[in-house]
């Protein structure tokens, strides 16, 4: 490797480019790096937002390890992530396989399934709240009553909470995954399928040995971004399940990591503790994403 060029000539050559990067870098530093660094620092302190922060070392993290509500939030989040990522990815792939053509019906269907992704998530959540409206006038309960069922208290039944959250997330997110998969499918050369057909491969064999392996980079991407998004679930809990005095809904059945973080930081003045939760969440996501990338062996393709 050649040694770096002298600073002067590099500046002359790239000076304008650096200058053009400056505004972005300044914003990036002020609104991303700086708050990030602050939260890392705060995670080692006791800070109520008003009085100066007091360094407490690893106190926040040891307390987190013994916090039953945090463990509960972690468990809920894990279930939710597993459900929404697995179902979301499978359905995205299914939709992509069903509607990957260029004909009009396919385009219309793709647009329909993609619509939730371009709608404001707050609006979607408010709509779900209406669908799940507890009295028999809610849409979900109206449908239930067509089949002769009694009105279900959707939002006050702890066992239904995570399935509902998964349903909302899959419904809202599968269109996005579908579009990625459609692009992935389009990039698989038709010759591979022709060759396989000539060799007598069945449709399933073609899917299993050509489509799936060649979609691996897309799958990795869909799973990793899905994981990150699912771990950070917030609006759904905050808008639909939050009670008057309890962020996690009935019996904390909807308590997830980010709502818990928000609750601790912004309604209980524990900003140091909340920062510690944020960094634990970061570590979890980081490790899971690394594992995923390794398993997908997709580092090079991405």
């Amino acid at each position: 490797m050649a040694g770096p060029a002298p600073l002067g000539s590099r500046l002359r050559r790239y000076g304008t480019s650096y200058a053009m990067l400056l505004p972005f870098l300044a914003l990036f530093a002020a609104f991303l790096l700086w708050p990030l660094a602050n939260s890392l620092y705060l995670s080692f302190t006791r800070f109520d937002g008003v009085n100066p922060a007091v360094l407490t070392g690893l106190d926040n993290f040891t307390r987190l390890a013994g916090d039953a509500r945090f463990r509960h939030a972690l468990g809920n989040t894990a279930l939710y992530v597993a459900g929404s990522v697995v179902l979301g990815t499978l359905l995205s792939l299914g939709l992509a396989l069903a509607f990957n053509g260029t004909s009009w019906p396919h385009r219309v269907m793709r647009t329909l399934f993609f619509l939730p992704s371009v709608t404001s998530s707050i609006a979607l959540m408010l709509m779900w709240k209406w669908v799940l409206f507890p009295s028999e006038v809610g849409l979900a309960n109206t449908v239930v009553s067509w089949f002769g069922g009694a009105a279900v208290p959707w939002l006050a039944t702890p066992a239904l909470t995570i399935p509902i959250l998964v349903l909302m997330s899959v419904w809202g997110g599968m269109g996005y995954g579908m579009v990625l998969y459609v692009a992935g499918l389009g990039s698989i050369p038709e010759e591979f399928y022709e060759a396989a057909r000539i060799d007598g491969a069945s449709a399933w064999q073609r899917f299993r040995h050509i489509t799936l392996p060649l979609l691996r980079p897309v799958t990795t991407y869909v799973v990793v971004t899905g994981l990150i998004g699912a771990f950070q679930v917030f609006e759904a809990v905050y808008i639909i399940f939050r009670g008057t005095n309890n962020i996690g809904g009935v019996l904390d059945s909807a308590l997830m990591i980010v709502p818990y973080l928000y609750d601790q930081g912004f309604t209980h003045f524990k900003l140091g503790y909340a920062s510690a939760i944020a960094w634990v969440l970061f570590l979890i996501i980081f490790v899971l994403s690394l594992v995923n990338l390794r398993v997908g062996r997709a580092m090079k393709e991405l």
Binding site: S135, W154, N245, V250
Partner: protein
């Protein structure tokens, strides 16, 4: 690898400098209280409510031409976080209003002025004693005083009660249970439900005090391990489990509209019913909550108002807070609230019938509730415990634990958080 290292060290360096940059707070220098000044008042609630308080502020300006008070709306959803941000940066409102315990919490962290320095206790005699008490910090500091009140009532469908042959709304726990039975027998599918406080400690609050119990003893020892608390929770749980009260929360006027015969709901829904549900006009009325073995005690909430410690106009701010209790300020606020058809119960019990926005009949019901009312516990550790207590109550209601265990668990949490 080198890049990762560079990124890590950047974050680390920034974190260290963040540590150095966190500054301590300083005492806010007071400005000349006679020069022209503009105070900002962040009011938690809706824009209509802001407009009603602005009327009082305008009146204050007429009397003190050098003082302008600008009222701004903070919505309930993000008010707390915004006030926290204001307190952190020590910039923002001179005066703020919000939930009853907020001023205590901000005050405990040095963000509010102790209004006793400005002679606020002159107002104490005018306020509802229990509500005033709930605004006072455990150490006796007064960082905020009640700005208005809210309470609960039993809203009922006069037509449905009549069909079931019930002449008057239930006055006692026993009558409530009997009436639920009679309504069911008459074919009413949803005899009773709870809006405000459903599955929550606020809902339990009423039953607890009506049975003679309390959350804490007067010296702030948790007291949910009592026979009264058990009796209250047993009755409440039975309402759900034996009498089919829905666990799902439906807003009060929606509940009445969709055929619920009796709903426990907050005072703020009363004025909207006729306007939003025209079909219900003339078919509903109000009554105080049915009384328990120890009486009819009802929860009183409301908003507290206080002056921030980072205000340059603390004395004027405190004077404005006192002004909000004057006859003319209450008249100005309620006049505007009437025009806008929104709920307002002044912080002075003697003004409820004349100074609230309700019809005299409705106002009398609320005045009766407030007369015997009690407010949220102001004991140390309650805010920390509230959601866990609610969780224990929910587990009893949903049949996941029995009443005694749930209360014992709740008491344990309260004990732990009391420190």
């Amino acid at each position: 690898m080198r890049r990762t290292l560079a990124a890590c060290s950047t974050v680390l360096v920034a974190a260290l400098s963040a540590a150095c940059a966190t500054s301590g707070q300083t005492q806010t220098r007071q400005a000349d209280q006679n020069a022209p000044m503009t105070l900002s008042f962040w009011s938690t609630g809706g824009d209509d409510e802001t407009a009603t308080f602005q009327k009082a502020a305008d009146l204050y300006h007429q009397k003190h031409p050098n003082v302008t008070v600008k009222v701004q709306t903070l919505s309930w959803d993000d008010a707390y976080a915004k006030l926290l941000a204001a307190a952190t940066s020590r910039t923002g409102p001179d005066i703020l209003s919000g939930g009853m315990t907020w001023t205590i919490q901000f005050g405990a962290r040095g963000a509010m002025v102790d209004l006793r320095e400005h002679g606020i206790e002159a107002l104490k005699g005018q306020a509802q004693p229990a509500q005033w008490e709930s605004a006072v910090s455990p150490d006796g500091s007064v960082y905020g005083v009640p700005l208005d009140m809210s309470t609960l009532a039993l809203y009922y469908r006069t037509d449905l009660l009549k069909e079931a042959g019930i002449a008057a709304p239930p006055r006692t726990w026993q009558e409530l249970v009997d009436d639920i039975g009679r309504l069911k027998a008459a074919g009413v599918k949803k005899p009773y439900s709870q809006d405000w406080g459903n599955l929550d400690w606020i809902g339990y609050f009423n039953y607890l005090y009506q049975a003679g119990g309390t959350f804490y003893t007067p010296d702030c020892k948790p007291s949910l391990n009592t026979p009264q608390a058990e009796r209250a929770l047993t009755y409440w749980v039975d309402l759900y489990r034996e009498h089919g009260v829905p666990t799902a929360t439906v807003e009060g006027s929606d509940a009445l509209d969709t055929g619920t015969a009796m709903v426990v709901a907050g005072n703020w829904i009363a004025l909207g019913i006729d306007a939003n549900k025209p079909k219900l006009k003339g078919k509903w009325a109000l009554a105080p909550l049915p009384a328990g073995p120890a009486g009819p005690t009802t929860f009183i909430g409301g908003r507290a108002i206080g002056v921030t410690s980072f205000s340059k106009y603390a004395r004027t701010g405190a004077d404005f807070v006192k002004f909000m209790y004057s006859d003319e300020a209450i008249a100005a606020v309620s006049g505007e609230a009437r025009k806008r058809n929104i709920s307002y119960i002044p912080p002075r019990p003697d003004k409820i019938v004349g100074g609230s926005t309700f019809t005299p009949d409705q106002a009398r019901v609320f005045a009766e509730a407030i007369g015997t009312g009690k407010a949220a516990p102001g004991c140390p550790g309650w805010d920390e415990s509230a959601s866990d207590v609610a969780k224990q109550l929910q587990s009893a209601i949903l049949g996941k634990s029995d009443v005694r265990t749930a209360l014992a668990e709740a008491a344990k949490v309260m004990e732990r958080n009391a420190g």
